[in-house]
Each structure stands twice: as C-alpha cells, then as structure tokens.
C-alpha cells in the first residue's frame, strides 16, 4: 500500500512539474542591459523611482507573458560585460549602449524592421535613425541624446570686462586677459583629452575649422589640413597656459567640478550640466551658455551625442516571431510618452521621439533651445566600422601631441592606420 501511495505521489509531482513547464513555455524572458546614465537609472528601472514602482514591474504587469531580466550596468563596465557575454554565447536580447557597428558587422543584431512596430519607428527623429543605418538596414534606434555648448562663468567674464568669445582669436584674447587679471589663479578654458571623452575635443576643434572625421563623401579624412590646424590650435591653448593643467588626465567631470568651484571660466559641456551642478551643490556660480567658438570664417557646430537600443539575434529561440513581438512590446512601452518623458527628464537628456517633445517643453522651456541646438548638431560617424579605432586613435594622437608630438605626422599615421594606406 505504501508503495502504491509513493508511486501515486511521484506521478502527481511529475504531472504538476509538466503543467508548470507548459505554463512556463508561454512566458518569454528577455535579457535586457541598460546603461547607468546617472544616480536615478537603477531606481527607475528596478527600484521605486517610477511613481513608487519600477519599470520592470510596470512592464510585466502591462505585458503578461513577458518577463524582464533587466540589468543596469555602469558605462565603465558595459563594453566588457557585453563582449564577455557574446564570447560565452549569452548575448542579451536587448542592449542599450552607444556603439552598434561592430555588433551589426558581426551579424549579431536583428534589423530594427524585424522588431520595431511601424508607428513607433515613424515617431523617431529621422535624422537620428539615419545615424544607425548601414547600407539599407537600420540596426538600432536612438534612446536619447545630448548636445554640447559652451558654458561660461558670467561673473568672471564681467569682472575681467570681456565678452564671451565666438572665434578662436577671440578665445585666445579672452583667455590671456583672464590669466592677466587673476594672475593665473583661474583657468580660462577647459580641455578634456582623456581616454574618457577625448574624441569630443577632436570634434569640437576640427568641426569648428571646417574639418572633421570624414569628408563630404563620408570617407575618413583624419589628416586634412583643417584638422591639423585645429588640433595644433587646441594644443597651442595648452602650451600657452590657457587651459586646465593636465588635459590628458582631467576628465569632463573634473572640468565640471572646477567650473562649479569657480576655478574654470569656460568649458564645453552637455545640456545636463545644470542638474550636475545642482546635484553637486555648486549653487553659487552664475553661468550661461553660448555657441562653441569656431575659427574665423568657419561655422560653429554643436556636437550631438546619441545612445541606442538594439536587439540581438538568438537563433536558438524556437518562435522568432514571438520573440520579435516581445522585443517590440518592450520598445513600445519604453517609448510610451507616459513612461519615456519621465525617463528622459529625470537624467536631463534630450528625447529621440517626437511624441515626447511637447510634454518635455511644457515641463522645461529651456528644452526647446536645446532641441534646436541638437537639430544643427553634428554626430560622430558611428555607422562606420572603423569608428571604434578612430575614436581611440584620435585620443591617442591628441595625447601624443600634448607631449610634443608633431600633429601632422600623428594624424597622417592615424589616417594610414585606419584606411590602410
């Protein structure tokens, strides 16, 4: 009798497991990696930062049958985390990061058309979508953007009696006057040529001199005359003592701290600087924004920075259509203005979809001016496969130039390395 009961219990256990498994089969779990943009990202996605709840909880409640295994990863670690997971054949389903060309060229990504609902696709700013197109295929969608402008300490400039510079010549003149007035106690100009974001400095100066990473045809033109002149100008600012003392090791955040402490008169920074200053308690600084100075006769250009959301292939998943649909639902929920507006404004970024603009502008009128800046901004050539090498190479060239390297030779070498010529 005992044996019979045991057998019955075992069968019941097996059947319940089977039932559980079949119920589990209807549930799809998406692995999602989100980059940590600021102190609130983690709380918004996983804590209580989204009206007392989290993005994951709200999404799962609104989309039964889809579970999110969402991880917030710092920018310092995300490239390593992703490449390690790819090496282990365990790529995430959805990834939020800045680069995409390497993943696309390796055949690891799903085209956006496979998973993005049409109405959502139409909502993205078209110029942003173009930044993720290689050939005829769009591989990622933008999640947010930021734009750069010149921030200047109004009190310092007023005290010295100078106007905010618009050209390079004016910049040198203003810098010299600040040095003379404060006897070198205040750095006139902030320069970041670190491995953190030195490529931005390359963009600020080369774009302000009619040069840039690529020529009009989109081919690499790293050693153009304009670029050589621009980088020589930037290095000249350091050599003349107009900048922070260690541009190779002082990051944008160091510069923002110096600016907040009143030690730095002018710095190029993102639209999120006001909230950075508020968070850090730099309340006594009277500052304003202006266009980034350009060489005489050249157009000033803002630098737009954009991050992306992309979906990885998983050929082992049995029902691809269902997986694509689940990824689409994630995107739809994320970009829904009811959720997205909170996300973008929380970390002080600029939106990537039209449907969020009206509400964001209503919340903060300064957004409109920044959206206009973004409209005229240039972006890094991230669609080109060599971009990752160009980014590192341009920073390396800057740092070599800082220690006395010849800019022409350095940029010639970089161009040769990238183009193989």
């Amino acid at each position: 009798m005992k044996k019979l009961v045991s057998l019955f219990l075992c069968l019941a256990l097996l059947l319940s497991c089977a039932a559980f498994a079949s119920a589990e089969e209807d549930v799809i779990t998406l692995d999602v990696i989100i980059c940590q943009y600021g102190p609130n990202t983690q709380d918004w996605f996983l804590g209580t930062g989204m009206d007392g709840s989290s993005f994951v909880e709200k999404f799962e409640a609104a989309n039964p049958g889809i579970k999110l295994n969402l991880e917030v990863v710092s920018w310092n670690d995300v490239y390593t985390v992703v490449s390690t997971r790819i090496s282990d054949h365990n790529a995430p389903d959805i990834l939020n990061i800045d680069v995409f060309a390497d993943y696309a060229n390796e055949g690891l990504l799903l085209p956006v058309s496979d998973w993005c609902p049409e109405d959502l696709y139409a909502d993205f700013f078209p110029s942003f979508i173009e930044q993720s197109r290689i050939g005829d295929t769009v591989w990622a969608v933008p999640d947010l953007a930021s734009a750069r402008a010149l921030y200047y300490n109004v009190d310092i400039l007023n005290e010295v009696g100078v106007e905010v510079p618009t050209t390079w010549a004016e910049l040198e003149d203003v810098a010299q006057q600040i040095i003379d007035f404060y006897d070198g106690e205040i750095y006139p100009w902030g320069l970041d040529m670190t491995t953190d974001e030195g490529q931005a400095a390359f963009a600020y100066y080369t774009w302000g001199n009619g040069g840039g990473f690529v020529d009009a045809e989109g081919n690499w033109a790293l050693n153009s005359d304009e670029n050589v002149e621009a980088i020589e100008f930037a290095i000249g600012l350091v050599n003349k003592g107009y900048t922070n003392p260690s541009p190779a090791t002082q990051t944008r955040y160091d510069l923002q701290d110096m600016f907040g402490a009143g030690k730095l008169a002018m710095v190029i920074g993102p639209n999120s600087i006001p909230s950075y200053m508020a968070q850090k308690g730099y309340t006594g600084i009277n500052y304003a924004t202006a266009g980034i100075p350009a060489n005489a006769g050249k157009t000033s250009s803002s630098v737009g920075v954009m991050d992306r959301v992309m979906a990885f292939r998983d050929d082992s998943y049995p029902d691809q259509a269902k997986r694509n649909e689940a990824i689409g639902k994630f995107a739809k929920f994320f970009y829904d203005p009811a959720n997205y507006v909170g996300w973008v404004s929380m970390e002080d970024f600029l939106p990537a979809v039209n449907s969020a603009v009206a509400e964001l502008v209503a919340q903060n009128p300064s957004f409109e001016a920044w959206l206009n800046v973004l409209d005229s901004a240039q972006f890094y050539p991230t669609t080109k496969a060599e971009w990752a090498d160009v980014k590192i190479g341009s920073i390396n060239a800057e740092q070599q130039a800082l220690i006395g390297g010849n800019v022409r030779e350095l940029l010639d070498a970089l161009q040769a390395q990238i183009t193989g010529k």
């Binding site: 390796e106 690891l108 106690e185």
Partner: protein
C-alpha cells in the same frame, strides 16, 4: 589497524582538497582559458574565432606603446621593490629597537598597508591636485609658496609620483616581514658580537643581514609579484595617460582588453607578463636559496 592506516593515508589530501579545488577553479582554469584565447582570434564585439598561431603575440609586441610599457614596468618594479625594501628594512630596524611609544609607532606604520590601494591612490590624487590639492593648500597656508604649484607638470613627474605612492604603500609590508625576522634573532648573537668588539655596522652586516635574509627573500619575491601586478595606483592616478606613457604592463593590458577592445593582443600580453613574472621570481628565489645553502 588497516582502516586507521588508510585514513591516515588520505587525510592530508582531504584537508588539501578545498584549497586545491579553489586553486584549480580560480587560478589554473582561468590561466588555461587565457592561454587558449591568446592563440585565438577574438573580434572586437567578443566573438571568439579560430586558432591564429602567434598572431596575437606578434600584434602585442608590435604595438607602438610596447617598448615604453616594458621600460615603465621595469622602472616601476625595480624602484618600488628596491626602495620599499631598503626603507622598509630601516623602518623595521627602528621598530625593533627599544623606545617609548614603540607600539604606537608600529600601528601607525601599518596604516598605509591596511588601507585599500584604490583609496590610497585616490587620496594621493587629491593631495597633488594643482587646483585644490591638500599639498598646495598646506604650502600656501604656511606661506612656503605664494602660487599654487602644478605637481603634475609632465608625465615623467606623474610617473615618479606613482612610483612614490607605490613605495609608500609597500614599506609597511617589508617592514613587518623583516621585523618578524628580526624578532626571531637570538640576542646571544649580538652579545657575542659585542664581546668580539663589533660595532653597529659590523653587527648589521655579519649578524642581522644573514639571519634576516629568509624574511627578506620572502618579502622581495612576494613584492615583485604584487608590484608587477599592481593596478589601482596607476589606473587611479593617470590611467596610463598620456598615450600609454605612464602605463605598466598590467594597466596597459587592461586598457588593451577593455578600452581598446583588442582582446587577442591583450591575452597574449597577459601570457607574456605571466611567463616573465614566473621567470623573474623563480630566478630570484633560486639565486637567494643558493646563497642560503652556501
């Protein structure tokens, strides 16, 4: 009786098993993986391809920064290990002598060692900051300087600072290893030497040094390994900038792997470092052991 004998036979191995397993899982196995990867093609995105022979090693050695990095590594290891051993030895001698407040002095000396390296490096980074660093504040407030000094005026100076921080945090380790050795020396040797008319220097040379040599050997071999593999100081202060001029092998291979995403050459570089370390530490141990045997 047989059962007891049997148990005795495997008991030591049983006790060793956890540490052997730990070593296998966390040391030997990863070394094996890196060894395999160093002969494989690894794409920037992280896709591991096929066998490429010595390509990764050739690429690593041909990198423009390679000679600078090797030279820096040599300076870093020799200066930090050499000077910290010298100063640590002197500190140990002082701490071994009788004086008022010796216990307090011993606990103060151990502080730099008891603090995390990242914390130490970050603190030094703040101390030498030109804008609002403590060193400048101190010197300005005491009137020793009238203008803030840029303590990081060139990458050579920055590298010297890094070596200095390395020496500062390594001294306690040497001092305490040597101190342990000094305390085990029988006082009778010194008494005998005094009777024979030996002064301080003679006692140091003919009694202290030979008897403390085993402790010095241990501290030097461990130091070579620790200092060669030390990452936080350089990464926190300069991140190897500008253009790898302040990188040592470990920080360089980290940047190669996780910043430049050149995982193939980076794994090759870490194999080169591993072999180099085995050879140097092995040679040093062999040389000192031979001397001891003599």
């Amino acid at each position: 009786m047989d059962a007891i004998h049997y148990r005795r036979w495997w008991t030591p191995y049983l006790w060793l098993l956890p540490s052997v397993l730990l070593m296998l899982i966390f040391v030997v196995f990863p070394i094996g993986i890196v060894f395999r990867l160093s002969f494989s093609e690894i794409s920037r995105a992280g896709v591991v391809g096929g066998f490429v022979g010595l390509d990764n090693f050739i690429a690593a050695v041909r990198e423009a920064a390679f000679p600078t990095v090797m030279w820096n590594t040599l300076i870093w290891v020799v200066s930090v290990v050499g000077l910290s051993t010298l100063i640590g030895f002197v500190v140990a001698l002082v701490l071994n002598s009788e004086f008022h407040g010796r216990k307090l002095a011993r606990s103060i000396v151990v502080f730099p060692w008891a603090t995390s390296l990242v914390v130490q490096a970050s603190i030094w980074n703040y101390i030498i900051k030109a804008e609002y660093g403590n060193l400048n504040s101190l010197l300005l407030n005491t009137g020793l300087i009238s203008h803030a000094v840029n303590w990081r005026s060139s990458y050579q100076v920055e590298f010297i600072w890094e070596c200095g921080v390395g020496i500062f945090v390594t001294i306690p380790f040497v001092a305490f290893t040597v101190l342990a050795g000094l305390q085990s020396i029988d006082g009778a040797y010194y008494e005998a030497a005094t009777v024979d008319g030996a002064g301080f220097w003679k006692k140091l040379r003919h009694v202290t040094l030979p008897l403390v040599r085993p402790s010095l050997t241990i501290s030097t071999v461990l130091n070579i390994i620790y200092v060669f593999n030390s990452f936080p100081i350089i990464y926190t202060i300069t991140k190897g900038a500008p253009a790898h001029k302040t990188d040592t092998m470990v920080t360089y291979l980290y940047m190669l792997a996780f910043y430049e995403q050149q995982k193939g050459p980076a794994t090759a570089m870490s194999m080169i470092g591993f072999i180099l370390l085995c050879v140097v530490a092995g040679l040093y141990m062999a040389a000192t052991m031979r001397k001891e045997a003599q």
